[in-house]
Amino acid sequence: MSNLSDVGNLMYLDLEIIEPGNITNNSEYLINATAKELSNTDGRNWIPLIVKEVAEYRYQIIGNSFIYAVAEAAGLEKVWCIIADDSEETAKVTKILAGEEIPKINLSTASRDEIKSALEYLIEQPDTVLKGVKIPVATNRIDEAPRRYWQDLKPITKLKCGITAGKKVKALEKVFYLTPESMPDDIKDPKFLNTLTTTELRKIAKKRNLSGYSKFSKSKLVNLLSQ
């Protein structure tokens, strides 16, 4: 703990000097009922609000915003806060730690087990749109697909694993992100080539200085490029 910074400190701060920031939606019921519980005690929030200092005596919430809402409802003037540093990463990980945001995994490099548990998590959600998706099938197909080159999650819709375009593939964005590698020009794997569009296949053909492919169908293009 440095003396020239409050980062890491537990401080007792006036609610008034704390900016709510992006407050996650919590139900009125939970807020008010919790406020009542808190008022029945000595009013100390043992789970602190997580804030960052934006200027001298000005703080912004980065995590546990539920506590802020409760403190407000309970009429507390001061709340116990932990001062976090002001980096983006800290704000992000704090929200995740507080359960206010869902962590994402990198689908470009994720292991099979990671993919499986992410899909399981999504399907277990009460409002899931992925009902009927068979986890073992979807996991296998996604795992084996050349996902390290994917620019987005759209190729999943072509894996015939029950995850169709629209809200189903959109749901996957909650848990997956990509850091795509650039595609090597000499790629020959037909399985991968099949996931590309005709235009993309033509581009590869052009880069390889092939000729006569301009009127080829997709399957012929794949054939040509996989030789």
Partner: protein, 461 residues
């Protein structure tokens, strides 16, 4: 309340900024001083700083002979047109050619600062409050308070992107000159006579008609509060510092100290005493209510009320001393020539602690405020023999050499040659006065004369 004037200034600031940017962009890369002056300073910069043609005097005579500074500035007061009366300058400006290197630590930077300081202390410039050096690539603002000259801003690099902002903020500073010089009296080593220095300096300054506030910021010892027999004010310092919503003013914590003399004269200064709550709280507990800037925020509102604010800071580099130095303009460091640790600790303060404060102050003010500056050290209250003088000379030489190694730090401006370091002689009255609850400088002529010397060495012009 604070935001209102800024909003009003926003619109002219944009216009002025456009003209500054244009002038700066059209300036040739190697413009000599006359071109920097004619095409940028006189035509756009002064206008943006708010000084009209009648409020500037080029080649202002600073003293007898040929001593001159490039510009003196002052706002006109009714009939008193500065260009005509040439009296009471307020700002001095030292210009350089665009090609002159003004990056900090360069030889030409150092000589330019020296030149400005000489002008600021010249006989015709006693009323000056601010000094500026610029070559149109860099600019630095200095504050002059009595004899003390300290950087108000870092040496800032000027680009077309920031010239408007920088000029505006320099103007804001010049237009809101704080009356007070805030002095933290600090040495990391204890027992060097900090409290005695604060009390007697305050006493002497009041005898020179200065309005003085002293702050006992050493809650563990409470020496200052006790040695003057001060009763607490209306509010406790703890409650005031803890209040982040600006409800409790530091004014309510103040308790005056008055000394009546024979013949009906009385002298007084204000004291912010330590309360028991602050004294008894453990530092870890304090940190839940206080930040290192809590004290500065409260003290800022008093800086227009006093000529001098003297803070008695505790030894050790912890919350209270950090807060005291963060709140101050300059740091006065008493040492004892016969205590090598007090000298070594002075060096650590100057080369490590104060730069830390400067760094954080600059960060908290978007790079515009320099932060606290150390004053040269002085020897406090011990008789010094020639043999001792030689020993201390060697000790100081060793300290300076060590600081000059990596990372390089030049301590010479703070550790003058031993013969020139100010010595406050020892005196039994000074030491004993603490028992009498009276500053020695109020009671004994000898103490008064010693501390007057100290005040004149550092503060009074």
């Amino acid at each position: 309340m604070v935001q209102a004037p800024i909003k009003q200034d926003r619109i002219p600031y944009q216009d002025l900024s456009d003209s500054l940017i244009k002038a700066l962009k059209e300036l040739p890369e190697l413009a000599p001083e006359a071109i920097v002056d004619g095409n940028f300073i006189a035509t756009s910069f002064f206008e943006a700083l708010g000084f009209s043609l009648h409020e500037r005097i080029p080649q202002f005579k600073t003293g007898p002979g040929e001593q001159k500074v490039d510009y003196a500035l002052r706002h006109n007061i009714n009939e008193d047109i500065f260009l005509h009366t040439k009296a009471n300058p307020y700002v001095l400006v030292e210009l350089k050619a665009r090609g002159t290197n003004l990056t900090p630590e360069s030889p030409s930077y150092k000589s330019t600062v020296k030149q400005l300081k000489r002008s600021l202390l010249a006989p015709n410039c006693k009323t000056v409050q601010w000094g500026i050096i610029t070559n149109s690539k860099h600019i630095q603002l200095f504050r002059k308070h009595g004899k003390v000259i300290h950087p108000a801003t870092p040496c800032l690099e000027i680009t077309p992107d920031n010239v408007g902002e920088i000029t505006y903020r320099v103007r804001q500073k010049i237009e809101h000159t704080p009356k007070a010089l805030t002095v933290a009296v600090y040495n990391n080593k204890g027992g060097v006579g900090k409290t005695t220095t604060v009390i007697n300096l305050a006493a002497v300054l009041t005898r020179h008609k200065k309005k003085v506030l002293v702050v006992d910021f050493d809650p563990n010892q409470k020496d200052l509060t006790n040695s003057l027999g001060i009763k607490p004010g209306n509010q406790s310092l703890y409650d005031c510092l803890e209040d982040k919503k600006d409800i409790i003013s530091l004014r309510e914590v103040i308790s005056p100290y008055t000394r009546k003399f024979h013949g009906g004269i009385s002298l007084s200064f204000d004291v912010i005493p330590v309360d028991d709550k602050l004294a008894q709280a453990h530092e870890d507990n304090l940190r839940k209510d206080l930040s290192y800037y809590s004290f500065r925020k409260k003290l800022d509102s008093l800086k227009s009320d006093y000529d001098y604010i003297l803070i008695d800071a505790p030894p050790n580099w912890r919350l209270f001393s950090i807060s005291a130095v963060y709140a101050s303009d300059v740091v006065l460091i008493p040492t004892k020539h016969n205590n090598i640790f007090s000298l070594q600790n002075a060096a650590v303060t100057i080369q490590k602690y104060i730069p830390e404060i400067q760094e954080i102050r600059q960060k908290n003010t978007q790079g515009i405020e320099w932060g606290a500056t150390a004053l040269p050290i002085f020897f406090n209250g011990e008789r010094i023999t020639d043999a001792a003088k030689n020993r201390v000379k060697d000790a100081i030489a060793a300290i300076i050499t060590k600081a000059n190694q990596t990372p390089k730090f030049d301590l010479k401006p703070y550790f003058k040659p031993v013969d020139k370091i100010f010595e406050l002689p020892s005196n039994a009255h000074i030491a004993n006065a603490a028992f009498e609850k009276i500053p020695a400088a109020y009671k004994y002529q000898i103490a008064y004369s010693y501390y007057t010397e100290l005040a004149k060495e550092y503060f009074l012009q």
